[in-house]
């Protein structure tokens, strides 16, 4: 068992365990804290996969911006004491949810193990590389080159989407002012 294997098991347990604790925690603030643990574990797994830039981005965007936003909203709405008094779920919903997610997990694992199940595709006939694909690289400059050449239109669309979501959030938070003039 090499040290990389050891790190993989540590961070795998950290990310999945953080997710499970998040789902079953009563208080929203502790749920957000477990979520941060899970996201940092996923960032460490990105490092093990040699996607260093994405690991940094994961910590900055998710563990930094998104979870701080979540914590601010939890404190703004003050849902802590109310939510911790009640049960987190109904019994019937819990049974349905556990059955559904076990079905999903087992189906996906079946697909991964059998390579698509009963399909009679000849896999060797499929092209291994998409046309004009970019080589995997740990370098950020390769990433930027790909974004600015092949993915020029998607990056502009995502910038426009960010602008649209920003305007949407501003309008939504203006609408919900106390004197309802809308």
């Amino acid at each position: 068992m090499t040290s990389v294997d050891f790190l993989f098991w540590i961070f795998a347990i950290l990310s999945v365990g953080g997710g499970v604790c998040m789902v079953f925690s009563k208080h929203p603030v502790s749920a957000a804290m477990f979520m941060i643990v899970s996201l940092v574990g996923v960032a460490a797994l990105f490092v093990l996969l040699e996607a260093f830039f994405l690991a940094v981005l994961q910590v900055l965007v998710y563990a930094g911006a998104v979870m701080v936003l979540f914590l601010f909203i939890i404190m703004l709405l003050d849902v802590g004491p109310n939510a911790s008094k009640q049960k987190i779920t109904h019994l019937k919903t819990g049974m349905i949810g556990i059955t559904g997610s076990l079905l999903l997990i087992s189906t996906l694992i079946f697909i991964v193990e059998n390579g698509g199940g009963t399909s009679n595709f000849v896999h060797s006939e499929l092209p291994m590389q998409a046309t004009n694909s970019l080589e995997f690289s740990t370098n950020i400059s390769a990433f930027g080159y790909g974004l600015m050449t092949k993915y020029m239109l998607p990056i502009q669309i995502s910038g426009f989407m960010l602008l649209a979501s920003m305007i949407g959030v501003i309008i939504l938070s203006k609408r919900s002012s106390p004197h309802d003039d809308a």
Partner: protein, 102 residues
């Protein structure tokens, strides 16, 4: 003990998606449902980076970049909607959003 293969990373990503799906189904608090969505997106990101690494193809990693962008925008809009809803209904539980039920 066998060494780590891409298979392990795929199983891990499936487990993360499954846990996120479980949270999305059973939780009544809409904030927690949004967090479970984030967990599912993270599981998908791990699978994409694994395939990108194994296939020696950067396109998967760039996809992860776009997924992160969309997830950040989605959380911002979702939380703004949730705050607007809370000011109207005084609740963040999905049980109380039953206008279409009867």
């Amino acid at each position: 003990m066998l060494t780590i293969t891409p298979y392990h990373f795929l199983i891990l990503s499936i487990l993360l998606v499954g846990v996120g799906f479980l949270g999305l189904l059973i939780r009544r608090n809409i904030l927690l449902m949004l967090m479970s969505l984030e967990l599912m997106l993270n599981g998908i990101n791990i699978a994409l980076i694994t395939f990108s690494r194994v296939g020696n193809n950067l396109d998967g990693s760039i996809f992860v970049f776009f997924i992160m962008t969309v997830a950040a925008a989605e959380v911002a809009v979702g939380l703004a909607l949730l705050v607007a809803l809370f000011k109207k209904r005084k609740s963040v539980l999905s049980d109380d959003m039953a206008l279409l039920k009867n």
